[in-house]
């Protein structure tokens, strides 16, 4: 039995996760056992599959995210993303962008903490979420109180705030969109747009 054959036979018989110590029982010699010990376990065993949608264009291809750990426990680590064969539109296929989705999720330029760039500075410095959010709320309240137009010259209530603007995204969920709409429209921000404008 050559090594290649024994590796294939091994996988076929017992799956990839079997420890080397059980090999003797299957009748492999020591050479095969040593070789088999080098075989990487199939990386998607023991992963959780999650249905998702590609984040890029609006073809909206179905994808499956494979992760180790558990989202509910805060330790789900994505190890693989592939097309969803059940999806009617893409039937499992992905394009050169979608096929590299994991590279986006794991990008070195993903942001991991709030940062502040002070006036005139040439660098970002970390800031806590609380401090950042307090700063935003204060700046918005002050600007709104100073510049909100309650009535126009004719005395008509117009409730318009044009000195603060908000650009919404293009890939957030409808639920995020609804929460954003509620907040932005309630504040009276007139300069509100999303990527569809472009």
């Amino acid at each position: 039995m050559n090594v290649d054959l024994s590796r294939r036979g091994f996988l076929k018989l017992s799956g990839a996760g079997v420890a080397a110590t059980s090999l003797g029982a299957l009748g492999f010699g020591e050479a095969e056992a040593a070789e088999a010990a080098h075989v990487r376990a199939f990386k998607l065993t023991t992963t959780t599959e999650t249905r998702n949608t590609c984040t890029y264009c609006s073809v909206a291809c179905g994808i499956i995210i494979y992760s180790k750990g558990d989202v509910r426990d805060g330790n789900a680590d994505i190890v693989h993303i592939e097309g969803d064969v059940d999806h009617p539109t893409n039937r499992g296929t992905l394009c050169p962008k979608g096929a590299a989705l994991k590279s986006y999720v794991k990008s070195e330029t993903r942001l991991t903490q709030p940062m502040l760039r002070a006036a005139g500075s040439s660098k970002f410095e970390p800031i806590t979420w609380d401090a950042a959010l307090d700063k935003i709320a204060r700046a918005m309240k002050d600007d709104r109180d100073a510049n909100f137009i309650t009535h126009n010259d004719a005395g008509v209530p117009v409730n318009r705030w044009t000195t603060t603007g908000f650009l919404a995204a293009s890939a957030t969920t409808n639920e995020t969109a609804w929460a954003t709409t509620k907040v932005v429209k309630a504040l009276g921000i007139a300069g509100f747009d999303n990527q569809a404008r472009v």
């Binding site: 890029y56 709030p114 970002f124 603060t164 919404a168 890939a171 969920t173």
Partner: protein, 814 residues
């Protein structure tokens, strides 16, 4: 999209014009190859560049960027001249027979009512003659010279194949070959589909490009049928949803309008929204506008929106200008009139035109807040990157807060595809570091501001402190709670409109769909067109039945499509006046003597007998519009207009510059370049290996396409002494970029109005952040002007010059 991606397999002819689906939407384009392989469908590509879509086309024709209207009007003229018209459809399902006011007219490139000073039309004559019965006057025989059909014939008469060649540079023989292929689809049993994207929208007359094709599709009888339609491919995964939910300066959810300050109270606002039918027996579904509006206000402000206070009408902003769109906001910012600006998942420093102006504008803010999963150029606009971002950090006083958000993989909720399928997804990963969901971030900002107004008081706190915010965890509304709110529920029992003793929905229950929305304050619905997405049956967006009975491509059991799970809009038009399918082999809907049945959810009241209610139920006419009345600012028919920067004057009237009613700010007008200084036409485009400015953050995609380049023809290369791999400088009247040159056969010089026109192609994927090499985007060069109706910037046609050059300097930051 009127149809869906999976429906494209049903077509006989695909025309890709204003898009490049094979490269920008590869998995959707698969359905084109499916139609080619299994139906014998053919593919036409009309594009300035021989794209990969063109490489598998049956016919490819080049066209000068920004000249599409002439091509499309030429095509309509050819179809009319050659009797390639689906007559039963045109006579019954379009407004061809309706009579237009005597005052309406067109001359020398302009419609009646033009005011050069205001850059606007008085559109009052662009409308129907109304009879004594209150309905539009018609001539079903199409003999009256004032009927829409005859006015259309007259309007398109100038667009001969010779004129098309003169304006577009498209060789006459190519045009005629395409015309013959398209003309075949005027029979009831052959169908064409139109696939378009930003190649049509990013022009100062983008809306009219799209109308041009929509009109052609109506003349061919291709709207509402399987394998037909107007299919906007759409760029981002939820750009459809964000627009549906109304995240625009002039919109409220479900395509309701933000009031203007002329609409001084709710009844005045409603008075122009009665949508009284313009022909007998028509549905004119927008007559329900008040229900949708009141229920939206109830979703926003709950018990604080009452009949007595006009449903809190004055909590809403009233606009003094048509739009506070992005161009206007950056113009205001650049004038020092904006203090705080948010960018949620948006990178305007690369996405908007005239980057020099953008940098100047951002530098005048007090506070910029970015919310994004990734580093963006916008968040670092103040950082010096040599030639790639040559700014003086110390001189920029803007404070910048960069907030990390989660990405799709760590988020739960729904996204709306271009085919209007609202698909639910689940989180598969834990967010990195301290990254937070956008919902959490928005809630945290809101709660803090509300607290400040509660404790300190302030200017008009009512809409803030009274905003309905009833979530299990105020600090992070769940996707389920928000989705249910979008759908809507009964606040008090909803009774059956036909039997007031019968309760349709108990108080507290989710509405079945928008048929149960009321205008008396008894219901909420955040976005009426989405109603039905999460009713008492549960989360319909999460449905995953991929059965497709008789392989029609409808997939009614997969997710939820708005409206009402309907997959093809206007689908009643798939059957003739008697209710029989135009093409029995492609049946979609059919009248069975009692009701409409078929493979889709009928787009008409199910018991409306054929011959009475017409298929275009949203329109007051009940029919579709070849003549769009005063609904678009720049004309009831599309008319040829040049881009603001053009190599040739408008041949119809050389005095007309660009779109005569597009809004142009004074400083931007001063920056338009002329063809004497900038002789070449430039256009922007995407590559198949990259997605906008996102994938340059990925190692994989950055390896596939590492470096910014511009594409020129062999002829222009020879003229300028540029070889493939040379460094070149490309500049407009607004900026300059350096790039590697790619000299190709994919671009060829065109002859327009006797002049040789070279096109320079500029892909848009590079910046100064990420894993790819530093580069520039086309927006360093493009003009700051938008479409006259929707203000989408003119990225697809502008003027540049080009010369051989040297490498750009990297600058101090690596």
């Amino acid at each position: 999209m009127t149809n869906s991606w999976t429906d494209i397999k049903n077509t006989d002819l695909v025309i890709v014009m204003g898009g490049n689906a094979a490269e920008a939407h590869p998995c959707g384009f698969k359905w084109v190859t499916e139609a080619k392989a299994h139906r014998g469908a053919r593919l036409i590509v009309v594009d300035p560049r021989f794209t990969r879509t063109a490489s598998v086309a049956d016919v490819y024709a080049p066209i000068r960027p920004g000249s599409d209207i002439a091509f499309l009007m030429g095509m309509i003229r050819w179809c009319i001249e050659n009797d390639k018209v689906q007559w039963e459809y045109v006579k019954n399902f379009t407004n061809a027979a309706l009579l237009v006011k005597d005052e309406y007219g067109w001359e020398d490139g302009l419609f009646v009512g033009y005011d050069a000073e205001k850059r606007d039309y008085d559109r009052s004559s662009w409308d129907y003659q109304i009879g004594e019965d209150g309905f539009a006057r018609t001539d079903p025989t199409l003999q009256d010279p004032r009927c829409v059909w005859n006015l259309l014939k007259q309007h398109v008469s100038i667009y001969t194949p010779e004129m098309v060649e003169r304006i577009c540079g498209t060789p006459k023989d190519k045009f005629l070959k395409i015309a013959e292929m398209i003309g075949e689809c005027s029979t009831p049993t052959k169908t064409m589909t139109s696939m378009y994207a930003l190649g049509w929208t990013q022009h100062s007359k983008g809306s009219q490009n799209i109308r041009g094709m929509a009109m052609l599709q109506l003349i061919l009888g291709n709207i509402g049928v399987r394998g037909g339609g107007m299919n906007a491919l759409r760029g981002h995964s939820n750009i459809q949803g964000l627009t549906d939910i109304g995240l625009m300066s002039n919109l409220l959810p479900g395509y309701l309008n933000v009031p203007t300050e002329k609409e001084t109270d709710f009844e005045t606002y409603m008075s122009t929204r009665a949508f009284k039918p313009l022909q007998p027996n028509q549905t004119s579904y927008w007559q329900n506008y008040r229900k949708f509006m009141v229920s939206f206000m109830k979703s926003m402000w709950g018990d604080h929106a009452t009949a007595e206070n006009d449903w809190a009408y004055h909590y809403l902003t009233k606009l003094d200008v048509p739009n506070y769109d992005i161009l206007r906001m950056f113009e205001l910012m650049n004038s020092g009139k904006v203090n705080v600006y948010f960018c949620q998942g948006f990178n305007p420093l690369l996405a908007f035109p005239n980057r020099g102006k953008l940098t100047s504008a951002l530098s005048k803010l007090k506070l910029l807040v970015t919310i994004d999963p990734l580093e963006t150029e916008t968040a670092r606009f103040w950082e010096n990157h040599g030639d790639f971002n040559n700014v003086d950090s110390a001189a920029i006083q803007t404070e910048v807060l960069q907030l990390p958000s989660t990405c799709f993989a760590e988020d739960e909720g729904s996204l709306t595809s271009s085919g209007r399928w609202i698909q639910w997804h689940w989180a598969g990963g834990t967010p990195p570091g301290e990254a937070k969901h956008d919902t959490w971030i928005m809630a945290q900002i809101f709660l803090r501001i509300r607290e400040l107004y509660r404790t300190e008081g302030g200017v008009f706190p009512d809409p803030i402190v009274n905003l309905s915010w009833e979530y299990a965890d105020e600090g992070e509304p769940s996707p389920e709670e928000l989705a249910k709110e979008i759908n809507g529920r009964a606040l008090t029992p909803v009774m059956d409109a036909t039997d007031p003793t019968k309760t349709l929905v108990e108080a507290g229950q989710q509405l079945l769909n928008f048929s149960q929305i009321r205008d008396d304050g008894s219901t909420t619905s955040g976005c009426w067109i989405y109603s039905g997405c999460w009713n008492e049956k549960g989360n319909n967006m999460a449905l995953r039945d991929n059965n497709d009975p008789d392989s029609t491509g409808a997939y009614l059991g997969w997710s939820f499509a708005w409206p009402l799970n309907r997959r093809i809009l206007y689908n009643r038009a798939s059957a003739d006046m008697a209710g029989k399918p135009w093409d029995p082999s492609r049946k979609l809907m059919e009248w069975n003597g009692e009701k409409w049945t078929g493979y889709d959810v009928p787009d008409i009241a199910p018991t409306s007998a054929p011959g009475t209610v017409m298929p275009f139920i949203m329109n007051a006419e009940g029919v579709s519009r070849l003549f769009s009345r005063g609904m678009l600012r720049d004309g009831p028919f599309p008319t040829h207009m040049e881009p603001f920067e053009t190599p040739v004057p408008n041949v119809i009237n050389p005095k007309i510059v660009g779109n005569p009613v597009a809004r142009v700010f004074a400083d931007d007008a001063a920056q338009f370049g002329t063809s004497e200084q900038f002789p070449h036409v430039a256009t922007s485009y995407r590559l198949t290996e990259h997605f906008h400015y996102w994938t340059k953050n990925n190692a994989v995609n950055s390896v596939l396409q590492p470096q910014f380049f511009v594409e020129v023809s062999e002829q222009l290369g020879e003229e300028k002494g540029i070889k493939g791999g040379d460094w070149v400088r490309v500049w407009s009247n607004r900026g300059s970029v350096k790039a590697k040159a790619v000299v190709t056969k994919r671009l060829k010089p065109l002859t327009c109005d006797g002049k040789t026109v070279h096109v320079v192609g500029i892909p848009l994927h590079w910046g100064f952040i990420g894993a790819a090499r530093k580069g520039f985007g086309p927006n360093s060069l493009t003009p700051f002007v938008g479409d006259a109706n929707v203000e989408t910037p003119e990225f697809k046609a502008f003027l540049v010059n080009i010369e051989k050059s040297t490498a750009p300097k990297e600058g101090p930051v690596a």
